[in-house]
Symmetry: C2
Subunit: 773 residues, 2 copies
Amino acid sequence: MNQDYIIPNEWSIIEKGFHKENITASESIFSIGNGAMGQRANFEETYSGETFQGSYIGGIYYPDKTRVGWWKNGYPEYFAKVLNAPNWIGINININGNPLDLNKCKVSDFKRELNMKEGVLTRSFNAELTNGDKLKVNAIRFLSLNFNETGAIKYSVTPINFSGEIEFIPYIDAGIVNEDSNYDEYFWEILQFEEEENEAYILSKTFKTEFHVCTGMKVDFTLNNYEINLNKEVEKKEKSIAFKYKTNVNQGDIFTIYKYGGYTQSMNHKIEDLIFTLEKELQKIAIIGFDDLYQKQKDAWQKIWETADITIEGDIKAQQAIRFNIFQLNQTYLGEDSRLNIGPKGFTGEKYGGSTYWDTEAYCIPFYMSTKDKNVAKNLLLYRYNQLDRAIENAEKLGFKDGAALYPMVTMNGEECHNEWEITFEEIHRNGAMIYAIYNYVNYTADYSYIPEYGMEVMIAVARFWQQRATFSKAKDKFVILGVTGPNEYENNVNNNWYTNYLAKWCIDYALENLQILKADYAEDYQRIIAKTKFSEDEFDAMKNVADNMFFPYSKEEDIFLQQDGFLDKELIPVDQLPKSERPINQKWSWDRILRSPYIKQADVLQGIYFFENEFDKNTIKRHFDFYEPLTVHESSLSPCVHSIIASKIGMNDKAYELYLRTARLDLDDYNHEVHEGLHITSMAGTWLSIVQGFGGMRNFNNSLSFDPQIPKEWKSYSFKINYRGATIKMYKNHEGCKFTNESDAPVDIKVHGKNVTISSNELVALHRLESI
Amino acid sequence: MNQDYIIPNEWSIIEKGFHKENITASESIFSIGNGAMGQRANFEETYSGETFQGSYIGGIYYPDKTRVGWWKNGYPEYFAKVLNAPNWIGINININGNPLDLNKCKVSDFKRELNMKEGVLTRSFNAELTNGDKLKVNAIRFLSLNFNETGAIKYSVTPINFSGEIEFIPYIDAGIVNEDSNYDEYFWEILQFEEEENEAYILSKTFKTEFHVCTGMKVDFTLNNYEINLNKEVEKKEKSIAFKYKTNVNQGDIFTIYKYGGYTQSMNHKIEDLIFTLEKELQKIAIIGFDDLYQKQKDAWQKIWETADITIEGDIKAQQAIRFNIFQLNQTYLGEDSRLNIGPKGFTGEKYGGSTYWDTEAYCIPFYMSTKDKNVAKNLLLYRYNQLDRAIENAEKLGFKDGAALYPMVTMNGEECHNEWEITFEEIHRNGAMIYAIYNYVNYTADYSYIPEYGMEVMIAVARFWQQRATFSKAKDKFVILGVTGPNEYENNVNNNWYTNYLAKWCIDYALENLQILKADYAEDYQRIIAKTKFSEDEFDAMKNVADNMFFPYSKEEDIFLQQDGFLDKELIPVDQLPKSERPINQKWSWDRILRSPYIKQADVLQGIYFFENEFDKNTIKRHFDFYEPLTVHESSLSPCVHSIIASKIGMNDKAYELYLRTARLDLDDYNHEVHEGLHITSMAGTWLSIVQGFGGMRNFNNSLSFDPQIPKEWKSYSFKINYRGATIKMYKNHEGCKFTNESDAPVDIKVHGKNVTISSNELVALHRLESI
């Protein structure tokens, strides 16, 4: 049991006391990252207990050979695994010849803190070795936002009850295996070692993909804050290199090693420059020095928090949780590189392989769009644009043609990284999320240029897919989409999933609508795109026919869109009537039983209603929420947030808060007993959405930004900021009312509770007793 | 390409000429077995080319660790693999120090013959070694029907152009790995070696399952037919033991080694007796001698053929094929041991794991019932009866209770050996086949005692499963069965598969009907069964309610039972309109495309109509055949036979013959390019059914045995025999008419073309110009 050991704090994640059973969980929770790389919170010194060692570099993957019980045509032979990278943080310590290993010491005053305001991980403890030697250790570590190929460690040791010999053994190790590897193979080949002075470098490359990575370290020492030089002994093994520094210390001395390390890699540099470039980087940051580097780190995080922060008064655990989520999202992705994306576990684990799910489009883009410059969201869209050719190839493998595209369920480089037919081949709604994200982006940013420049090609390719994927049912006299898995993965291979059909029709309509706009207003782009895609009038008509005659399963009696054909044949017993002993059903029930049950893993019909809320009246929304939510088990981390947002919308505030709680501290409180595998990065965006779109009621449909702020009765107040078309708007809400501040130079028009409000530049508009405005 | 190289012959399978590309295919086709064990037709001497070495012992399996891409609750952790057994046939040959290896010689006059009349495999060839030495080899091998733990080899070598030294190295080797192994582990542990005179024994056991097996050999020699003694050198390795015999021979000499070998195993003997018993067996058959043993083998096969044979005049390939199928079925299973069953590959390969599918109940039981004593079919039923507890456990794993049973999709010991959720958990119709087999047996043999003694318990357990598996649909006001895979595995997770629902209702009705009979006529058995199963009146009523209110998908417009809900939403394009380049679809299409297509892998609705033909009129049958057969791709070896039988029934004789051809020579002509993996043993019963029930029109419903003989125009005549309730009836049919012979002591009543005919004991009734009777 490792739940509930994290100490509540507004700005920090804190663990006190040494508990071996929490090690792997804490390694996940205290993970650090800078968007370009990240690492689990492994100890610098050796640890012989249970640990999951993990360092990761954005964009570096390995095509592991597929493992499958029964092969199905169309499965990828290989797929990209998140790749455990060489370790540069290691510093082994020997005290009078005895290794420091917390698994074999008496440990006291153990404290670990992840300071989210500053982006720094600290750790301190006293250790008593088996021979009675006691020492105190302080370790500080961060991955630099300013120099994102590097990180820095300050690791201090003080003898408490002895004087004697201390040995520091900083090392870099490229002999790394993946935790998640299908055949326990080595993924890295070692190419070259370099060492000079207090620096060491290993150049390695991945097999097959041939990513070249230089891993390096540079170390300095101080004794009681005075720089000292030490002689070293070099220990070079087949895949690692270590320096041994010995010195004698007196009781009470503070002996400190500064270790600067990191990676340069071939996505960003020429292979022949990798070692040299890393040398330069490490030398540069060493000259800046640990303290100044730390100050820059604080400043950089300060800048992120300026727009990204959400404050919550009156609930310190909620405050801690939302900052944790915002912090981890920013550690994972900062939006500067359109070749990167937001992996489901970020840089905190390996499970699931690949990095990019439709989570990015459905959940993460709104977060990044509101908390950062619009180019960040644009980079996420460009990621998919750049992979369009692969998506077309992927569709061709499944028998589609003429430029139809199917984006993979999960990917690293555009190729599919998943092989479970009911998901890989059938969970095709993901294709619609690609287009929804474009729509969402253009809608929010008003940057229409994205469509002629990039988006239209993706829209055509996806619309082609839907047109080819739909088939005509004589029996229904409509187009149907057979054999799909909707967002609710507790149904497989169903016919006419309402969400999928709705999205398919919408994708075609939206593509055709934009084609008309381009034809009228962007003639040159239009011609280029028509020529490139070979799009014809006939195709236009065929698509329109499918969209206009799409079938939607519906029950007249219940006045409900049905999740799929035949949904009402199920025994519709609400979740709350299931015995507790049978929950979660994905652990207690066999798969067939789950499939024939009515239980919903995550929003399905309601996902569609959430995306297209403006197309449904409030009664319809409520009717569907009342019908489907009681059947929803929320066994996906992406489920509660959407339901929470809808519950807020329809005035079910208690329900909204209850659902919010299920997502907010998912990892911090380890609801599902799996945090040791890594954090649920993408679902963290869902928590942000639950507050901003849920309690805050922020919407952006039809060129109008609106708010409908509520506040959970458990909170005193909360506030968030959003970037909107160049303006920064701050929303503050308490039980008296709400206020909006326009922190930018131009006035902004918004709606609050349905009423138009204009906020002038740098003005604060306070809305007390809301019914009066 | 290894199709079409088998030379047509009435009684033999013959291969002429040495073609390396045919080796693995021939190893399957020329396989030999005696019901207790079997082996692929591997060469005795070493062969360094591509080969699949395989020896198998009935009932011996290994629980291999499951391999799966994405784990689902309910999957078995381990499942039983058909286990490659130690090799006792090996005889390496050195000529003047050079090994005989057909992969490295010039080979001429190569001939291989499987004499099916006698159950003997022979092989002869001339080989020229690289040094120019030429020799002639004759090898004869069989597995004894009379002494079924043993086999014998006579292997003769004649120097053609040299005199010199020949070395014979007979060996036994327990260092065997499975071709089909998930993690390339050794499954056998070596326990003990014994050797004395010209005999050697290895005692080994399987890991985990601890089957103990003694493998042994005993060798004798003749030179020009005179017994000789040779000194040996013993070569013992970690897992094998070989004897080296050297002698000088002159050009033209015939030097022969007789090798007697086989296994004793712990299913049949005490572990401590295994070596001793095998010694006795091998010494016994060596004393009998090769020639007399061979004579006994002929006699034993003669006895099998007496009832099992089918003659076909005018089509030698058809004659060869049907005998091949009958021969292989008898090599695989002789029905004396209720712990054994008929594996899909018999003793000819390992693919699929496990040994027992519903193929046994649906296809094999009718064959064995008609061609052997009724105890053989009864043993096959008892196999399932004895595994009832495991079937109940299996159902419990999936959430069923109170003694409901789900028989596994494939099994060796009653546990599930399959893990693909859409099959393992959902292809539940197999459960109905267990009951259908009981019904079929009782119907055919009139041995009702099986039901009170054994069958009733199985029926109750299966009926319980169906009652619990069905759920009530408010929308349909009927019981529905959701989330199943029917016999047509090209649909997964469908609702209300007509065949499954029909069988479920029938199983309940049949169970309840027999419960009533037992209550009235077998009171003691009834009381025992009620007490043992805790069956209650309430349960009776609940079951009846489900059966009486079962939903059957049906189209009024088409007047067709629908394969499943929503079937008519598919694009119903007949198979013959698919481009040839897209067939077989299971190789050309991705799985999702297959699933949403209307194409049928094997009989589904038609399987039900075949089983319960007496419940449908001819028009209904024809309507369904005309609707479904054009959508059927017959990509299961079990498909064409059922369709052929129905086509015969409805007078579509050309279609019936066309479909018959697709099953008759499946392996001999290697239609699917997979014969190297082993033979399709269970589907061989389908060919027999196509002739006897198809062309012969044999039926057995309502205590009446009837025939409706047709003959393909390509044949001159055909004949078959059946055992029926103690009588042996021979049917002969040509284009003039048909005749029936009653080879038994009592008269038999049959129907021919709907008319009653009584055939007296040993009488022949000839029916010429059939329309006149």
